[in-house]
Assembly symmetry: C2
DNA sequence: CTTCCATACCTAGTAATGCTAGGTATGGAA
DNA sequence: TTCCATACCTAGCATTACTAGGTATGGAAG
């Protein structure tokens, strides 16, 4: 997040994190990187955002984690989507679709506006 | 908000409220109605959301208000966009565009997904 | 060898914000 | 006259992302 539009993530972070794990398990630092890349640099999340979110998602049963130590590397906590995490992600995508549509309709207000 | 996707508005409400006033001044109840209509029923905001938001926006100089009493009617507080409210709305639309694009890129993750 | 940096994790506390759940009041319909 | 829809308000709550600190290790630079 680049300061300007701080706080805008509210409520959408979970789905974004889950999506970052869809292609396979990853650890916190890598997830931050994935999200930054995918979002084209728009979401540059501080660790203080990601780690608590991961804990929350695991607590909720949407992620599972394992401590791993790659040969000659530091200890990492690797997260993976659980079955309910996968289905929550699907819900999250649908919810985002509805939400975005409603916001656009609300902002548009009859007048056309630049895509 | 239909419960399921509660909290998703976070950070976007202000722009939506400002947009509701773009076509002319209105009072709180009418703004709720406008937003519900425009959003196709998705955003059915409780008064406890709107009134504090209006106060916040006025405090921030983005709205101005006047008490009016229509002939044979109840007392209403009518809000209007100020000049800086108008320009904030423009910023809000741009910010939404960037944000939505980044979320879609983050959720999409290489795989195509239903518009 | 020591120093420093990037990696990698963590958490307590803060600020913001939307919502819940209450309250008041009035005009018109039943 | 009773009730509901309109119309406004607020205190307190829950959630959530962020700030600002902290720990530790492997590798590179000096």
């Amino acid at each position: 997040m680049l300061g300007m539009e701080a706080e805008m993530l509210k409520g959408h972070l979970d789905a974004i994190v889950l999506a970052a794990l869809e292609s396979g398990p990853a650890h916190g630092y890598a997830i931050i990187e994935t999200i930054r890349m995918r979002s084209g640099g728009t979401f540059d999340l501080p660790e203080g955002t990601i780690y608590p979110a991961l804990h929350r998602l695991e607590e909720a049963g949407l992620l599972s984690s394992d401590w791993t130590t790659p040969p000659g590397g530091r200890r990492r906590r690797v997260y993976a989507l659980t079955r309910s995490g996968t289905s929550r992600l699907a819900e999250g995508r649908k919810a985002w679709g509805r939400f975005a549509k409603a916001v656009e309709a609300s902002l548009g207000g009859g007048r056309s506006w630049p895509a």
